[in-house]
Amino acid sequence: MDDRTPQGASAPERALVDAAARGDADARRRLLAALLPTLRGATRAVLGVGADADDATQQAAIDVLRGLDTFRGDGSVKAWARTVGVRAALRIARKRRPVAVLDPEVMQAREDVTSMRESIPGELQAHLAKLPALQREAIVLRHGLGYTVPEMATLLETSANTIKSRLLQGRRALRSEIRRATLVAQARRTGDDA
């Protein structure tokens, strides 16, 4: 399926969505099969790889079918599905955050730990993991998934000022981490060259 285009949904996309909305069983199945990778990518971007993202992907698939009538065709179906996936992931993040994310002891103990290791490169994951959950969430939505501050305020059901505060905190913490890593890498190279 096409990603976001200025012209909105393509004619084949529009036709498939319309058929699925009318109840065409084959269209519903084909639509879900086409969108599942996008839903999975979105939920893993927010929750990382693991059981929580799997649950969110399942819920997002259900939400896609329930929300077919709301798709207006202004953007691509894929972009719409990505937002459905993000919403489903954020709902689960709200319910499960204290257990799934904040306690390092839990993250060590769980075999199916909610890990970003398989979805983003290791260094990115290492830097992001050091952020508090709310700041990490803001960074992922803004810089990873490209949502604007007003869109994030709607998604997260909070004020734009709260979003900005979290973004600033997160960016400054990441800046410190990235610069520290840069200095360590430089010192290591200098040591190797000596």
């Binding site: 999975r40 079918l65 204290p98 909070t158 505060s165 979290r166």
Partner: protein
């Protein structure tokens, strides 16, 4: 015009990048063309890599067919007549839920027009703004925050963090606060104080009118590894029960509601070890209470998260024996515990029972995927 120092250039770059990230008008200064700095390049590369990796689609997986089937079953195709009635009913329910959610306070909000709360990042929170949890907030002039009818006001220069909006829990780090209305849990220097209307708390000096403003009790002793004979947290939800062991009987106990509230506060603060101890104490000391009944599912999830599948299974099975509205969550937790324990035969039975009892569950696809 003097050449800017590296520090000045860095500060300019930071303010430009942060303003762009917040979608605000960047400052007038611009960076000289062609200026390179490895620190800037590394940070820019980080965000480029983040966007590239996070906007990519996920993989196609073997479980996709099950996920699709579960979604198709959960959202059946409706006939035109019933569909319209269903839509009307859904709209009415959604409208009622929206009204209910709108009237329920969910976040701490700045009360009134007095003063301002400023975050560590320098963002000034105005009246009506939702105050972020976890960030240190500084009160300018006398500033208040409220949730519903509960109001807490701080003196000029006071610093605090919102720990748990729902529990009215904050940590005071400097200055003083006064409770105008409602009950607030204010932590200070490691001790938690429950304050009511008229109470005042200043950093490092407790000046409450209520002498019973009590700190938290010391954490309970770590749980011994459970055996078949010492399964204290397997006390039945109703019925016989028996006398608690002597050590347990001597330990002072809090009421069920207080234990549950503290367990939830600890969990909300990310202290899983403490939350687990408090939920265990709740289930052990008040086994027949409604708080303990619901707490078993949470305790089971916490035990599962800590790799203690056997302990988790005990909690889920205890809840399922008694029954309740969290049966679906408890049944799914039981399946996960049995899977971790490698109990294949029991797992198979639990999955079949789950699929029969909860045909539209969001966990359906994953439960099918765990079939031995």
């Amino acid at each position: 015009m003097s050449t800017p120092t590296p520090e000045e250039l860095d500060a300019t770059w930071q303010s430009l990048q942060d303003a762009l990230a917040l979608e605000e008008t960047p400052p007038e200064e611009a960076l000289p063309e062609g200026l390179e700095d490895s620190r800037w390049a590394d940070e820019e590369a980080f965000y480029e890599a983040l966007a590239t990796s996070m906007q990519a689609d996920g993989p196609v997986e073997a479980a996709d067919a099950a996920v699709i089937e579960a979604a198709l079953e959960a959202v059946p195709v409706s006939t035109p007549g019933r569909g319209r009635v269903g839509l009307i009913v859904a709209l009415v329910v959604a409208a009622a839920a929206a009204v209910l959610l709108w009237t329920l306070p969910t976040e701490l909000r700045l009360e009134g027009q007095r003063g301002t709360w400023t975050t560590e990042g320098g963002v000034a929170m105005q009246a009506g703004d939702v105050l972020p949890e976890g960030d240190e907030l500084v009160a300018t002039q006398a500033a208040c925050l409220s949730r519903g009818d509960a109001v807490l006001c701080a003196r000029d220069g006071a610093r605090l963090t919102v720990d748990d909006a729902e529990a009215h829990a904050v940590t005071l780090r400097a200055g003083a606060v006064d409770v105008q209305a409602g009950t607030w849990r204010v932590s200070m220097a490691g001790a938690e104080h429950r304050l009511g209307p008229g109470d005042h708390l200043a950093f490092a000096i407790l000046a409450s009118k209520r002498p019973e403003a009590e700190p938290l009790p010391p954490a309970p002793e770590p749980e011994p590894e459970p055996t078949a004979d010492t399964a204290l947290d397997d006390a039945p939800a109703a019925g016989t029960g028996g006398p608690l062991p002597e050590a347990e009987a001597k330990r002072p106990s809090l009421d069920a509601a207080t234990l549950l509230e503290r367990a939830r506060t600890a969990r909300g603060a990310g202290n899983v070890a403490k939350a687990t101890r408090l939920y265990r104490a709740l289930v052990r000391q008040h086994p027949r209470s409604s708080e303990a009944k619901a707490g078993r599912v949470t305790l089971g999830q916490l035990e599962l998260g800590r790799g203690r599948a056997k302990a988790a299974l005990r909690q889920f099975e205890a809840y399922l024996r008694a029954g309740g509205p969290l049966a679906e969550e408890a049944a799914w937790g039981k399946i996960q515990a049995l899977d971790r324990l490698g109990r294949t035969e029991a797992l198979e039975g639990a999955i079949e029972a789950f699929l029969t009892t909860h045909p539209r569950s969001v966990y359906r696809g994953r439960a099918k995927g765990l079939r031995p």
